[in-house]
């Protein structure tokens, strides 16, 4: 069990994720993508007469089962398949983040930022609420996320997905290099 409980290398995880693409295609002609589930949730729970949410979301319910599975997988992996060690990252990243004000490196997320006690601070609100809003708004505006564009789109040779992926990365670089240091200092 040791090799399962250790963190998995990129060359194990990447190909496994890649295989989900043909698995979904062959199991039911489904295109790999996660962010659409957020749209289906809107269509199911609060369509509010908005044309973008007027469609038969039940036909796409496989996607909701898929994300429910991801949640379940998160539970199983954290509770049964982990050794509860801190994430080992490049010491240079750790040093930089420490300098920028991150204190807790014990878990998958910095718990000094991502916790309910921080939710009502300006910094916590930006990381927890504003960040999530940008993810949901941006992925739908872009027509997909890392799975739908970067993996499904590029692997099926669709150039709009390559453009979108380059923009994901550009946005991430701009945020991480120029804006995030100020947000962490709040």
């Amino acid at each position: 069990m040791d090799f399962i409980k250790q963190p998995w290398s990129w060359y194990v995880a990447g190909p496994l994720i890649g295989l989900i693409v043909p698995a979904l295609l062959l199991l039911g002609n489904k295109a790999f993508g996660i962010s659409s589930s957020l749209r289906h949730i809107c269509a199911a729970c609060l369509p509010a007469g908005i044309p973008f949410f007027k469609y038969d979301w039940k036909k796409e319910s496989w996607n909701l089962f898929f994300v429910a599975g991801i949640m379940l997988g998160g539970f199983v992996a954290v509770h049964y398949l982990s050794n509860a060690q801190p994430v080992v990252i490049n010491p240079a990243t750790t040093a930089l983040l420490q300098k920028q004000g991150v204190k807790d490196f014990s878990d998958l997320l910095p718990l000094d930022i991502f916790s309910f006690s921080q939710l009502l601070t300006l910094r916590g609100f930006i990381f927890i609420v504003v960040g999530g809003f940008l993810v949901g708004f941006g992925t739908r505006y872009a027509g997909g996320c890392t799975s739908g564009h970067a993996i499904m789109g590029i692997s099926s040779l669709q150039w709009p997905s390559l453009v979108a992926t380059c923009c994901f990365m550009a946005g991430g670089f701009i945020m991480a290099w120029f804006i995030l240091p100020h947000l962490l200092a709040l």
Binding site: I70, G74, L108, L109, S156
Partner: protein, 136 residues
């Protein structure tokens, strides 16, 4: 129940996301600061494996389990790919999570991420509301 197989695939995906630390905020910071190959290796090798799989499906005309030809929906370019892509990039670097990892983190017991996920749903809803007014 025909959807259970998708639940099972999602379960596998969720486990991989946690075990490879794709769901870690720290891994995402490392990626955007170009201080590790890990995330690039995962996304890159996933693309290569998916690409080869799709080529094989097309080359050998492999059918789905119910015997249908495999259809891959084509994406058409619009400027939302650019504007939305940049906005998602900002959010990705702040939250350290794209939509898949948000679900995995919630399942993994990071209860506060449920707020982030609800906020992402709200973001999607606001996009739907404003869609006609946004440049595409």
């Amino acid at each position: 129940m025909k959807n259970l197989k998708f639940l099972a695939l999602g379960l596998l995906f969720g486990i991989v996301l946690i075990k490879s630390e794709v769901v870690s905020w720290f891994r995402i910071q490392e990626m955007f600061r170009l201080q590790a190959f890990h995330m690039y290796g995962i996304i890159g090798s996933a693309i290569v494996v998916a690409m080869v799989s799709i080529m094989l499906i097309k080359r050998f005309n492999i059918k789905t389990i119910s015997g249908e030809p495999v259809i891959i929906p084509q994406k058409t370019f619009n400027w939302g790919n650019v504007y939305g892509g940049l906005i998602f990039g900002f959010g990705w670097a702040i939250t350290g999570a794209c939509p898949g990892p948000l679900f995995a983190q919630v399942g993994g017991g990071f209860a506060v991420v449920l707020v982030t996920l609800l906020s992402a749903i709200a973001g999607t809803w606001v996009y739907g509301l404003l869609r006609d007014k946004l440049p595409h």
